[in-house]
């Protein structure tokens, strides 16, 4: 086990720049590396990485492995597993961190299996156990009702995927020095078993309610279809879908397909924002699976406050603009 040293990150590239998750991995990686006094390295895979290796150094990496191959332009499960496993076998990191993203979710368990390592997914907190020097990963389980702390004692590397936007991203320091190592990323296309046929970017008018991670719903209190535009705006801002109560649908402010509830759609997003709706049982029936419910209503006695996690009492027409303003600011960071 002592053969394994250092922290390796699996960075991600998005549209020719380092993806936000990469900065976050570098941020937490740096913290852990400093705690254990180990080296922090990062693997970047792509077709044309250019100066991103140097940029990663500026964000805190000590060493950057660059794997360039046309086949790596987009994440490809078989190819990336091969390249990353190869590197791990050579570099023998003690800790391997990935993002809990489309790519990381797919890659991490495959690496864990190939390397006979241990993996904890969807970490929201990472720390080093002071006694053993082992990584302690805290992750929500049971739909967020509980938190589990996981340690990998007997095998290496200790792998974890980090939930986006939960750790502090690294700050850029152009003066930092380090080493960029260009790897020979030999990927033989004939060994790739799964072929990517196409990638489809979906720019839907609104997200499908059933799949949405964020749902913003309005009720009778919205008052008109013009005012309902505000609900749409908030939903767009959060990449979410728009829902409604039955009266809002019946008033014709929005199509019936958006009705949430006992006789409408059942949704279970991470965040459900209920605006100017009273929280009738028949409506709650459709959104009670949400991890977090936020209520905005001018009536402090409204039932929605009995089921919501966060609430603001007041006129939505005053609340939403301020809320959206602050959100834009926070999301831009």
């Amino acid at each position: 086990m002592d053969t394994h040293k250092g922290i390796l990150l699996c960075g991600e590239i998005e549209k020719g720049t380092l993806a936000p998750i990469t900065m976050e991995l570098l941020g937490i990686g740096r913290v852990l590396a400093d705690k254990t006094g180990q080296e922090l390295s990062i693997l970047l895979m792509g077709s044309d990485i250019g100066g991103l290796g140097e940029e990663a150094l500026a964000y805190g990496a000590d060493k950057v492995y660059v794997a360039e191959n046309p086949l790596l332009e987009h994440y490809h499960s078989d190819a990336c597993t091969m390249v990353a496993a190869d590197l791990c076998r050579k570099a023998l990191p003690s800790i391997l961190l990935l993002g809990n993203t489309d790519a990381g979710r797919d890659l991490a368990p495959r690496l864990a299996a190939r390397l006979q390592a241990g993996l904890a997914t969807d970490a929201v907190e990472l720390d080093i156990d002071p006694d053993t020097g082992i990584l302690v990963v805290t992750r929500p389980v049971f739909g967020g009702n509980a938190l589990a702390s996981v340690m990998v004692r007997k095998v290496r590397p200790q792998i974890a995927t980090v939930r986006p936007k939960t750790v502090k991203p690294a700050e850029k320091d152009a003066s930092r020095q380090g080493q960029v190592i260009r790897m020979v990323a030999e990927v033989d296309s004939s060994t790739l078993k799964v072929q990517v046929v196409e990638r489809v970017e979906e720019k839907v008018e609104g997200v499908r309610l059933e799949d949405a991670e964020v749902v913003v719903s309005g009720g009778r209190g919205i008052g008109s279809s013009q005012s309902y535009e505000m609900i749409w705006e908030l939903a767009r801002l959060l990449d979410g879908a728009v829902g409604a109560t039955r009266p809002a649908c019946e008033e014709g402010w929005i199509s019936m397909l958006h009705q949430v509830g006992q006789t409408g759609k059942m949704v279970s997003p991470k965040l459900y924002i209920a605006v100017a709706l009273s929280g009738a049982m028949q409506h709650i029936a459709g959104c009670s699976g949400s991890k977090c419910i936020v209520a905005i209503n001018q009536d402090p006695e409204a039932n929605i406050f009995k089921v919501a996690h966060y609430g603001v009492v007041g006129d939505y027409k005053e609340i939403l603009p301020a809320f959206m303003g602050k959100l834009k600011e926070l999301l831009a960071k």
Binding site: D102, T166, G314
Partner: protein
């Protein structure tokens, strides 16, 4: 086509937060009285996906589940939806396995079943939410894996699978045999038909033990675990609604945004 679907029995994930209890010592959920365990939600979708393939192309579906106690219930449920055969894997040695151990046991069972074209898993178990078993299982079986599928079609002697991505989807062509993990986008699980329920009640569900599938005891021994859960806790969260205030509505709104951000919700 022979499809094997791995399903897991879990405590009802919709237990109200206020009623959610754990036993920190055994690291287990203590479900409230009268709330029975259920089939993991994504696994039920995996059964649905298998049934869709069966409807279209004809297939034999075998369902396996590793677990304790009334684990046969979830297999029965899958049978009533339209699966053809079911097997449970029950042995005291299978208790409290980590993802690696779970995948190992499943791989041994699948090897015993023998011929297959497709293995389906849920994208993650709706209790521990790890999302590991499918991929590890595929590596152990030495077959390709496609994760988080929203649509699976038989095409050109293989499978055409749509993978869910953050801002769209990806279409891949995979050879068979392979393993696919299924996401909820495949569609609502069908309600068992009358015939389905009757056939399921009549069906014998064999229970395989460690011996039956030639498990290497070292691989499932607690010392062999790759990952270890050292602590399970319920975060102290006020289930009461947190009313956010400010000197005016606008300020309260800003404060709300800040708090949601701090709680990692947005």
């Amino acid at each position: 086509m022979h499809i094997i679907v791995c399903v897991k029995q879990i405590p009802d994930p919709e237990i109200p937060s206020a009623k959610f209890k754990i036993d920190p010592a055994t690291k287990k959920v203590v479900p409230p009285a009268g709330v029975p365990p259920v089939i993991s939600v994504f696994d039920e979708r995996a059964v649905e996906a298998a049934c869709q393939l069966k409807d279209k192309n004809g297939a034999k579906i075998t369902v396996i589940s590793m677990g304790q106690g009334k684990v046969a219930d979830v297999v029965k449920h899958a049978l009533s939806m339209g699966a053809d055969d079911g097997i449970t894997l029950q042995d005291s040695a299978f208790e409290n396995l980590d993802s690696y151990g779970t995948a190992y046991v499943l791989s041994k069972a699948i090897q015993k079943i023998g011929e297959y074209d497709l293995v389906l898993c849920g994208r993650q178990a709706a209790d521990w939410d790890s999302g590991q078993v499918g991929s590890i299982l595929a590596e152990m079986l030495g077959i390709p894996v496609v994760t988080i599928a929203r649509n699976i079609q038989a095409a050109d002697g293989g499978l055409r699978v749509e993978r869910v991505l953050k801002d769209g989807y990806e279409v891949v062509q995979a050879p068979m045999p392979c393993l696919v993990t299924v996401s909820n986008e495949v569609g609502l699980p069908r309600l068992p038909t009358g015939m389905g329920i009757i056939t399921a009640t009549r069906k014998k569900i064999p229970a395989w033990t460690a011996q039956d599938i030639e498990i290497d005891p070292a691989q499932v021994a607690p010392e062999g675990a790759h990952t270890e859960i050292v602590k399970l806790s319920v975060p102290i969260r006020d289930v009461q609604c947190e009313i956010v205030t400010g000197k005016d509505a606008g300020e309260a709104a800003v404060e709300l945004a800040v708090r949601l951000r701090a709680a990692n919700i947005i």
